[in-house]
Every structure is written in C-alpha cells, then in structure tokens.
Subunit: 163 residues, 2 copies
C-alpha cells in the first residue's frame, strides 16, 4: 500500500461530506503564488474558503514563464486582480546553488537541464525579485494589488516585504 492509496482513502471521507459544485471563477478575485513547501497549507494560512482564490505553487514560489502563464490566464480569463506572493523561512531553495544542482544532474544522468533551478541566497531579495518579474511582465496587466510576504514556519505568521 502506497501513501497515495492512503490519501485516496482520505478522499472518500472528504467526498462523503462534500457540497458542490461552486462556480469556476475565483469569487474573491485573488491569485496566490507560494512555495510548494509541505508546511504551507495556503488555504489555512490565509483563511481561504473553497472557490475564492487561485493557488499557484512551485519550488521556491518563484516567477518563471509558467507562473506568468498561470497569472495571465487567471487575470484575463477568470477575472482575478489581486496577487499575493508567499516565500517562507527555512526554504530548501536557500540550501544550494543552481550551478551545483545542475552539475549534480549532469554528472549523474548525463544531461544538463536547460532551465534555471532558481535557487536563491536571500529570502527578502528573492521576494523582491519575484514581485519585480510580475511587475515587469507584459502579460500580467490587470493587477490592482501586488504584495509579497515571508511565511515564518516557526510562528505561522506572514511578514510583508516592501517592494
């Protein structure tokens, strides 16, 4: 039995008390971009209820073409206007460098990725960088509020990073 099987059992319990469906467009017109870290239960951290906000997540909560794609679809087709960016303390992205990570892959697997790993040495600076990538994107143009935060995995609190 895999962990996946256990989670499918959990889903049967969830479905038994499920009340749906809700409409497709996010009712509060918000898109959240956050790190994939296992300790970030974004719905609980922000008090999101079902149907309120898009949630986009990846390693680091960084902004690459795929987050721009998701934000462009979120804003242009589904009407979101506010963006909340969340990085966090004790992030794995602080523990390595792109060069070392890609060299390790090349040495082990024989192929070097053409993409950046997007590791970063400074949390505040990378929140600012991610905000800047959104601000400078020619495709994310409907934003009325754009704010970046660091989630403290020791306290559960969000600290705002001035852009």
């Amino acid at each position: 039995m895999t962990v996946t099987d256990e989670y499918l059992d959990n889903n049967r319990v969830y479905a038994a008390q499920f009340s749906g469906p809700l409409p497709l467009p996010p009712s509060r017109h918000v898109a959240v971009v956050a790190c994939m870290d296992a300790r970030l239960d974004v719905y609980r951290i922000l008090g999101l209820r079902d149907g309120e906000a898009h949630v986009i997540r990846n390693a680091g909560g960084v902004i690459t073409d795929d987050e721009i794609r998701s934000l462009a679809i979120s804003q242009r087709l589904l009407g979101t206007t506010e963006i909340i960016l969340i990085h966090h303390t004790d992030c794995g992205m602080l523990t390595f460098t792109d060069d070392d990570f890609k060299r390790g892959i090349q040495d082990e697997l024989g192929v070097k990725p053409s993409w950046s790993a997007e590791a970063f040495p400074d949390l505040h600076e990378d929140v600012e960088q991610s905000l800047a990538r959104i601000e400078k994107s020619p495709f994310v143009t409907k934003t009325t509020s754009l704010r970046g935060f660091i989630f403290d995995v020791a306290t559960g609190k969000l600290e705002e990073v001035a852009a």
Copy 2:
C-alpha cells in the same frame, strides 16, 4: 480594504493557534501536482497534514519545464518518490485554445507570448499527456509511484486515469 488585507487578518488568527516548526523534507515523501483552480483545496481533498507533501500547482495542472524543475528539486534534494497528478472537471483550460488566447494578448498588448498557454480539449487525454511528460523527463528519475486523477468539482471524488 483589499481582500489581501482580509486574508492577513485571517493569518493572525491562524498564527495564534499555530504549532511549529516541522522539518523541511516532506514526511510522507509525496509530491502533488494539481490545477490552480480555486475549488481544489488539495490538503483537504487528500487529507494531507502539515509537512507531509509538496504541492505544486498551475493553470491546468500541466507539466512544463517549471513543474519538472520543481519535481527534480523535490526528489533529488528533499526525498520525495510518489507523484500524484490532479486535473478536474469544469476546468478553465477546456474553454479556450492557445491560438485564440495568444492572439487576444497580441491584439490587446502588442506582444505575443513565446510560451504555450497549454489549453486542452480533453481532460483524460491531458492527464495522460501530463503523466507522459513526467515519465519521459530525463530529470525526474526517483519515482516509485506515478498516478493521475480527475477531481470532480460536483462530488469531491477523485477518478483515476489509467496511464
């Protein structure tokens, strides 16, 4: 007052009853890739508890270079081995085409994205396509379980898609 401000108020309530910190590596060695849809509270749908699994999300739950980047970091640096992929019924990605979306951007903003929008006409086929992109990636090599599902936004149930 923005919705973001409301969510920050919610975070104060969350932090007041928070007990942390947990370790960085996901304790159940699972990575989930899911659509950003506002109705997919992934932690509740699968019964994930804090610290158990990475959660990667984007428009459609599709696999692009950025999801491969996140999965490679998840497996190689943080020890995950199982992957759960989740698309869902009533997805926005079924409602447009890449060509129309990019033409709309070009006509309005004067710049055509160099990236694909990743719209898809068939849900089952796109789950299979996303699974195939993971299977064929030279960088995601530690997988012991890879399974794809469609979440039904009307019932809360996960339906497995045979790869």
